[in-house]
């Protein structure tokens, strides 16, 4: 978090220094700030892992979009074809995520990926109840959900 804050600060500093208050310039500032921080992160413990976040984030977004698109197609197919191929059901997914922010993040991601919908978290926050559309291969589903959670949690660590 400190890294991100620093990065933002640097971006603004850049804007102020250059005197160009356009959005484009701010973007440039942020980018330069990121690069600078990436350079010095080995020396500053507080900044540890900062530089890895951006590529991770980009990769995660790519992964997520792919999932989103593919699964959407699957659902779409089921919608437009008259017979139902789906085998819906509610499953309990044990959570690795520990703090509530992570849990919510994961739950929302799962909701956004087609075929799965987060219903609720158990009161002890250890299980996420998910409504899934395609339970024909439950293990496969659980695995891909776990994968999604893993990748998502990577962003925070």
């Amino acid at each position: 978090m400190i890294g991100a804050a620093w990065n933002l600060l640097l971006g603004f500093a850049w804007v102020v220094l250059t005197g160009d208050f356009s959005g484009r310039n701010l973007l440039a500032g942020l980018l330069f700030g990121y690069l600078v921080l990436a350079l010095i992160q080995s020396q500053v413990p507080a900044l540890a892992g900062h530089a890895q976040r951006l590529p991770r984030l980009i990769m995660f977004i790519g992964f997520f979009l792919k999932e989103l698109l593919l699964a959407n197609l699957k659902v779409a197919f089921d919608i437009i074809t008259p017979p139902w191929y789906m085998k819906p059901g509610v499953i309990a997914m044990p959570l690795k995520a520990s703090n509530e922010f992570e849990i919510a993040f994961v739950a929302n991601l799962i909701s956004l990926t087609p075929g799965t919908l987060s219903l609720d978290v158990s009161d002890d926050r250890r299980v996420l109840y998910i409504h899934a559309m395609f339970l024909d291969n439950e293990d496969e589903l659980r695995r891909s959900l776990a994968e999604l959670e893993r990748r998502a949690l990577e962003l925070f660590h």
Partner: protein, 134 residues
Amino acid sequence: MIELLKSGLILVGAIFMFLAALGLVRMPDLLTRMHATTKAATLGATLIMLAVALHFGEVAVVARAFGVILFIMMTAPVAAHVIGRAGYFVGARLWSGTVKDELRPNYDPLTHELKSGLETQENAKRHPRDTDPD
């Protein structure tokens, strides 16, 4: 090229939106309907906003288009969760083709308590934290 991409994005986005609506009408129960809507609509809106970003190409507009994408991605699942949960807990009838329900046995409709099903193994080790919502 950009024009073509834009047209593609628009059309695909619109189709997803339409599918979402179609699914909403066609799907047999509440939860499956929500599957159709939340994602497809989010995807559709996302695609169209990308097209908007491409179309205008100005930073301010692009920022706004991404703003829309971000906001819709933040809010849509929350809404889905809230409705789905409410719908489920107050007794939405599940489709006859539903194969499994691991939640029902863990939910107490009187106290609204939702267990994880793991309590028996670890015997409720966890203690309340102050970050718990009140």
